[in-house]
Symmetry: C2
Subunit: 241 residues, 2 copies
DNA sequence: CATACGATAGGACATATGTCCTATCGTCGC
DNA sequence: GCGACGATAGGACATATGTCCTATCGTATG
């Protein structure tokens, strides 16, 4: 079994891709800092993110940057533009060594009639991204930085307190404030014992102190497991008759 | 031909829906102010918006509101949650008398294998909504209210200068500022001759003065016509053989 | 080990914006 | 026509935040 095959098995891709499309997946590796998708390029493929960490962002005409999302596997890149644009809207960059399974847009579009499961999966991902994005936006637009950071920390720290973004500049671009203001709030959180970690590192030391600050902001949007897997299982049983 | 049939013809819905699903569409009318979809309700149907004007919003725990979108026909409601959630994320309310063609979620999910065109259409709409939402968010998060309003006015005023939102409170919730600050900027724009119209009304009187304020913020995200219609035309020819 | 560079940190000051209040206007219903 | 109510408008004040600057730290490279 080659590298593609291992990822296909790990993420059970045969459940949503037809054999024809499975065979058309091509493995590609990226170094840290490499550009996976460049904003403005023609939409010529969809990438399935199977290993590493990545981020998507856009740069505005005032030179400021807005960071749309941090990604962990399994996810799709370029699917938002596939049926609606000719050019990619965002730049996606590898944070760590990363791996994608790449599929040409032409192959996917040509095989659409026999890939309703993949289309349903993409609908599910896009819907979840839209709702998650809107929630984050609402928080960032309407709450002070203290609450934005608290919400972000609660949503993205793991059991050990380590958070996904390890670059304060990126984090400021994600929650939509200046580095300076984020620095103030981080300093305050450290003074209150909420955050620990050496200079620049962010480790959540006291989750319970974050909860009243964050309220129910992020948990309100929690998505349940994708419906497609459950419902289309019924179709699979019908096919077996 | 009944009312459903007229909308089906107007929007050429037979091009993306199978006959089975076309037959399952049910027409429903809403009064101004009526709730079309309520946040938190179970996801039991998808609605296709065929007449009127509507808005989608969410209310935060600090009592503030964030307005996600204004809608004109043709559009879909509830599709974002269909494959990813059990409950609707947003409330959608009719601004004017409105009409939807409603489709039960169960029917749509059951007929997914024979509706790849509809799935592709939904992917396209979701992708476009995600990109448009992100653009609006970036502007609202990173630019002062003056520029936000200028961008909004450029994007949403028609040739006669009439804009889609006729309620300043809604507009403030959409661009993410207080009514007070919006009021200041509107006053300034009136004093500069950019806006005209009686108290509360917003009519763009001088588009060219808006352009330097807005820059290329909204036009940068302009989407081309949906790819699905063009590309799937090829599939239709194949089927005819 | 020394240097360079990028990331982090904090001071000083300005301002865009929000909150809270009072006043006015326009529409609707009686 | 009158009164009620919701939308609009603007004053006063406070503050969260951004800009711009200087200083320090940590890491990589020669």
């Amino acid at each position: 079994m080659d590298a593609s095959g291992r990822y296909i098995a790990r993420y059970e891709l045969s459940r949503i891709f037809s054999p024809e499309l499975l065979a058309a997946l091509r493995l590609r590796r990226y170094d840290p800092g490499a550009i996976i998708i460049r904003s403005g390029d023609p939409v010529d493929e969809v990438l399935f993110f199977v290993d590493g960490r990545a981020k998507a962002y856009s740069t505005l005409d005032n030179g400021q940057r807005v960071l749309a999302s941090f990604y962990l596997p399994f996810d799709a890149f370029g699917e938002a533009e596939l049926f609606s644009s000719e050019r990619y809207a965002l730049t996606i960059e590898a944070i760590t060594e990363s791996t994608c399974l790449c599929l040409s847009a032409a192959a996917l579009l040509g095989a659409a009639p026999s890939n309703h499961r993949l289309l349903a999966y993409l609908c599910g991902r896009l819907g979840a991204k839209l709702n998650d994005r809107f929630t984050a936006e609402s928080i960032n637009l309407r709450y002070p930085v203290e609450r934005r950071l608290a919400s972000y920390l609660l949503a993205s720290s793991d059991d050990g307190g380590i958070i996904a973004a390890d670059d304060l500049g990126d984090l400021a671009d994600y929650i939509g404030c200046s580095y300076r203001q984020l620095s103030r709030v981080v300093r305050d959180f450290r003074a209150r014992g909420i955050l620990s970690g050496r200079r620049g590192g962010l480790t959540v030391a006291d989750r319970s102190a974050l909860e009243p600050l964050a309220g129910d902001l992020y948990t309100r949007s929690a998505s349940v497991p994708p419906r497609v897997g459950r419902r289309l299982g019924v179709l699979e049983r019908d096919d077996e008759r």
